[in-house]
Symmetry: C2
Subunit: 203 residues, 2 copies
């Protein structure tokens, strides 16, 4: 039987650059897969179905909820986002790791299910910087930004229960840190047990 | 008050290359200090007092033991090796990390004192390879090698209680892994608490 892959869960307030970072990891670790969420949010220009999200109708989303197909799902700004349990498990059963880029609501659901995931929170370097990054998003008005800032404050308080916290001050450093966490988690004793037992009895 | 530095404890059977790896880390992380042990072992050619070890007499060692100056000490092949508590604490109090390259007996003493250290075990890739590496040490006879191999078997069984295990198959990979563990440990939630609290209340 193959050793089950690890599950990395990355959360951050909007504007912290988590999707960019998570995608960068899949290029560094060939055995790491980015989990594509299902969403009812309409496609924006540039969005690609099956790459950015699986875009589905509210009716189909509701069917998946009713069928227990989501390991976590949440409603954010009126749109729903969910992670398919089958997608996740089929990757992990092949021994490959999964990186999930989800909001704190979703992460909390996974934690409450006692899923053996590694929870990582990305923090902006400062409140001022978060404001600056959010206001650079030209797609949204001032009210939406205020709303996001308020939400960010609540989210950051949740960082307290995550396993790791990365301050995203410089992208290069944040990338190094996330990479280090993934590599280090593979060296944790419980995951190395098999290799150790083999060596100890080998003689 | 400065945040106390972390303590990394690295153990491995002889011939696994732990000293080389630990020293490499101090070049990568400027705030990481290699802790120099005290020993009663005679100097070998190339050994430098204060760099490789603090070479002291059995009498002076015994005085330090009696005075409770060692946070751990052990007798290995008839020579004694110990870590000065004052050396360790003065570095950590300055907020700098310490990397300790010690044998399993010493590591066990630190664990039993509930020292909040990060315990890392380096494993050789295979029994055969360990044998090969030990037989390349021209300084020792066959009997000494057999003795080291037997000891290695007992030591490897102790890897079970370490926090991390690194298989030293390729030096480059082992270095990457050890570096990752050090970096990742700095991102652990409990160590980031202050940064988080600052940010959460900053607004």
């Amino acid at each position: 039987m193959k050793k089950k892959g690890l599950l990395f869960i990355v959360s951050a307030p909007s504007g912290t650059g988590k999707t960019t970072l998570c995608r960068a990891m899949t290029r560094i670790f060939p055995d790491l897969n980015f989990s594509i969420s299902y969403t009812t949010r309409p496609r924006r220009p540039g969005d690609k179905n099956g790459r950015d999200y699986h875009f589905i109708s509210p009716e189909d989303f509701q069917k998946m909820v009713a069928g227990g197909e989501f390991i976590e799902w949440a409603e954010i700004y009126g749109h729903r986002y969910g992670t398919s349990r089958a997608d996740l498990e089929s990757i992990r059963d092949e021994g490959r790791d999964v990186i999930l880029d989800i909001d704190v609501q979703g992460a909390r659901q996974l934690r409450d299910k006692n899923l053996p995931g590694i929870f990582i929170f990305l923090l902006p370097p400062s409140w001022k910087e978060l404001k600056r990054r959010l206001s650079n998003r030209r797609t949204e008005g001032k009210a939406a930004m205020e709303d996001r800032l308020k939400k960010a404050q609540g989210e950051m308080a949740e960082a307290r229960w995550y396993d790791y916290v990365i301050v995203n001050d410089k992208l290069e450093m944040a990338r190094e840190r996330l990479k280090a966490i993934i590599l280090a988690e593979h060296c944790r004793r419980e995951r190395m047990m098999q290799a150790m037992e083999n060596l100890i009895v080998q003689k």
